[in-house]
Symmetry: C2
Subunit: 354 residues, 2 copies
């Protein structure tokens, strides 16, 4: 293909009506004429239903193939006035490995079952979720997957009016809009709180990110603090960073926190990335982990398990959440009755850093 042709391909308005163009986008009628049957029969054949002879089926398929027919889902979904095969998925972050794993789990299952995924990212903002919702609902999706449990009133109303099935994932949803598949962040935090107490640590710190806008992370912290408050002598100091929860945030966050509170004996981090940053800082400063300072993360990044010193963290069932959310949604779409609420276990990994 020459470069000129390529340029034309790119920039040619799709509305130009040339004869080749016509030939390039055959529709049911073209196939029908070519085969000598009606549009309806062609439709039946192409959708793989019944109601036609083998001979007809064969000839229609051949014609469709040779004409390079590509079905128009816009027209199909519109005409059927039924939900399309689009599933909308909105995650709070696209760059976090955790959500990548969830998306992968969703995608594997949904694509296998014939659905396409429209994705959105709301950067932990409920308002952004609502505007994304407004856009995606105009495509009349078959279903939706949302992260977390907080939504704007406007979003809830949109959802209710649209009657679109929803799965809320990755949290312990208390007031579900529909189906839920997740786990309890409060329990993750509480488990870690009890664990550090069990290790004899009572002067705890917590380093969060996103300025506390991540509701799930806040729930972990609340669980952690609640667990520590069971011990009258335990304290928790907090540092909430206005930053993304990355390695570097952990690295400088721990410096800030320890400058303010030099006597801490354990620090619980927003996630593993930040905890690993904290570990790196300790290593740079010659602090012994866990003797001088304990370090705990959350999320069980693969890296965390293979570092020289295995990180104390919580392993979350991200892939399973994606898979089961997709399965539950599709079951609902098919009129089956999936479990309304699936809670998966998050497992504390003792590791060697607390």
């Amino acid at each position: 293909m020459s470069t000129e042709k390529v340029i034309d391909n790119i920039l040619a308005p799709a509305t130009v009506e040339t004869p080749q163009n016509k030939r390039a986008k055959p529709n049911l009628e073209v196939i029908a004429k070519a085969t000598g049957v009606s549009k309806m029969t062609v439709s039946r054949v192409l959708r793989g239903g019944a109601g036609f002879s083998d001979e007809t089926g064969r000839r229609v398929m051949e014609a469709a193939e040779s004409l390079g027919y590509v079905p128009n889902q816009l027209a199909a979904a519109f005409a059927a006035d039924q939900a399309s095969t689009i599933v909308g998925v909105c995650v709070p972050e696209l760059t976090s490995p955790l959500f990548g794993i969830v998306l992968d789990g969703l995608h594997r299952t949904l694509s296998r079952l014939g659905y396409q995924m429209i994705i959105g990212c709301n950067n932990h903002s409920d308002d952004d979720e609502e505007s994304w919702l407004r856009k995606v609902l105009s495509w009349r999706p078959a279903g939706l997957v949302l992260c977390g449990q907080t939504h704007t009133p406007g979003a809830v109303e949109l959802l209710r009016n649209s009657q679109t099935p929803v799965v809320e994932i990755l949290d312990d949803i208390t007031a579900p809009l529909g189906l839920t598949v997740g786990f309890s962040h409060a329990a993750c935090g509480a488990d870690m709180g009890r664990f550090v107490l069990g290790r004899g640590k009572r002067r705890a710190g917590y380093i969060g990110a996103l300025g506390g806008a991540d509701a799930q992370a806040v729930a972990r912290f609340d669980g952690f603090r609640a667990a520590l408050s069971q011990d009258p002598g335990a304290t928790v100091e907090v540092e909430m960073l206005q930053d993304v929860p990355c390695f570097y945030a952990g690295f400088y966050g721990i410096e800030i926190l320890l400058t303010r509170h030099p006597d801490l004996d354990v620090v619980y981090f927003h996630n593993d990335e930040m905890a690993i940053g904290g570990l790196a800082w300790c290593s740079a400063r010659g602090l012994r982990v866990p003797e001088d300072l304990g370090i705990a993360g959350w999320g069980a990044m693969e890296a965390a398990s293979i570092l020289p010193r295995q990180l104390t963290t919580t392993q979350v069932p991200a892939a399973a959440v994606g898979k089961q959310a997709a399965e539950a949604l599709v079951a609902a779409l098919r009129g089956e009755r999936p479990p309304l609420r699936v809670q998966l276990p998050a497992r504390l990994i003792p590791g060697e850093t607390v």
Copy 2:
């Protein structure tokens, strides 16, 4: 909202026609009747065009708002027979941080400009890409973003027939289908090859993953090997793993390779995850890095820069690729003439491990 109501919401077929249902999905006609104008005027107002009085505009907007109108893009895109505002994006992996960053870059720009993203994942398989393409083209997307430069003949034909603008990203595309935004993997490998030679390493190893199905990774290896072959005394031993390119693959891959070739003095890995796995193995075995063995990665994960010993690697412009690909695509859709080919720099990070 009671639980029973929720269940009904989920499982009620969307086709049930109750009066409330009607009220719940108002269309242009309903708004027109409520406002005392024609559908056409409503359409003009809602699309924010011109051709109506301020008074009419105000009343239509109010009615749409109060009725909870959600436009039907299926009908709009179909009727206009113009490309929709959907952009299809296919990546080889969803769980890799690299592609998460690219998706984020694409998403930020595309959503800001009014487009929605349908994503797909082909697991490095051109055949999977083709079947995804078949699905997504049936939604008549405005444009497509594909990774890499190899496609099946069927995919190329689909693309050509559909006339859909395409951006190929993350590679140095030699026979572009349309626009390209990327960088040269061969150059990444060659730069690293020259760098290790410069450090006096001449007995090199390479550890790849996916059984060599990742064309970009293969290009890096080829570039690396070609650079080393400039030195008559240099050798390269290879281990291609049938596994995903993760920390653990690096950890056991280096053991396999060094068992076969104990005298290597540097190992270049498929990516940073694997290189960090290799570093962990060296640390576990007491090998000094880089004195006993050099370790080099690719991709510049954030983790790599903050490890106790900064990894020798290549920093790739993932976010910039996503952003510029989206911008170029949208420019083409608007009839502008974006640069056909954008090559971004990938920068070698010397680090401390070679």
